[in-house]
């Protein structure tokens, strides 16, 4: 089992490939790998409670993907309420995740 840190900076309102990225993450998780999605920049938009793309987030969580949203990005965008199961953190957590042995990091 490998560990993946997938950093999503794009949002589905702007970029349709963000949905393909979510499918990629699900594929990684379904193969028994440990996957964490770290949402940054506009990538946090689908995590806002009530967003039409909340299902993208809930589908990830159903597949045992950890979803973390960057607090700085949330604050910049005035997002205070998040979809169920989304954790928040700062870039110090991202660095910790990056340095976990055996982790493969992919930025999108």
């Amino acid at each position: 089992m490998a560990k993946y840190l997938l950093i999503e900076s794009r949002d589905p309102f702007d970029s349709t490939d963000s949905q393909y990225f979510a499918e990629l993450v699900q594929g990684i998780a379904k193969r028994g790998n440990e996957a964490t999605v770290f949402l940054v920049q506009n990538g946090v938009l689908p995590a806002r409670k009530g967003s039409k793309y909340n299902t993208v987030i809930s589908d990830l969580i159903k597949n045992k993907v950890k979803v973390v949203a960057d607090r700085f990005s949330l604050k910049e965008r005035g997002i205070r309420q998040l979809a169920e199961g989304v954790d928040t953190a700062d870039t110090d957590r991202l660095v910790d995740l990056l340095l976990e042995p055996g982790t493969k990091a992919i930025w999108h």
């Binding site: 950093i7 900076s9 794009r10 970029s15 700062d90 870039t91 340095l99 982790t103 930025w107």
Partner: protein, 137 residues
């Protein structure tokens, strides 16, 4: 206190164009705060992040002057990262791609960065605990 761990980050976005620049600098800062050594490989437009001639500006829309606006420049952020590394006893090795610098005439930098090439990125990555590549959109 230095952790003995090293993170390598490759960045490509030019300053003031993409949130990627801010996020990349935040990640470098967080790593240095934890005492990790950091290698940065600045490629393409990212070599402009360190240009010494950058200057803050007023905001005519809000009617604020330079001091009131306190507009941050990336060269000041990079300079502060070098200071942070020193304070933490960690090493920040910032490599600007030489060919990218020459193409852009972007050779006058704040103190700290050095000139290099893709081989430096490969060597840094091989010697690091983790590598993060932040591509342009």
């Amino acid at each position: 206190m230095a952790s003995g761990k090293t993170v390598t980050v490759a960045i490509m976005d030019a300053p003031y164009e993409s949130a990627n620049s801010t996020t990349a600098l935040r990640i470098v800062q967080s790593a240095l705060e934890k005492g990790h050594n950091v290698n940065v490989f600045a490629y393409e437009g990212a070599v402009n992040l360190t240009m010494k001639a950058q200057a803050p500006h007023p905001n005519p829309v809000k009617g604020t002057n330079v001091e009131q606006e306190a507009h941050p420049t990336t060269k000041d952020w990079v300079a502060s990262l070098f200071k942070l590394a020193k304070d933490k006893g960690a090493k920040l090795d910032w490599v600007n791609c030489g060919l990218c610098v020459d193409e852009r005439g972007a050779g006058d930098w704040v103190e700290g960065p050095r000139r290099g090439g893709p081989k430096d990125f490969l060597d840094a990555s091989n010697a690091s605990n983790a590598t993060l590549v932040i591509p342009t959109k």
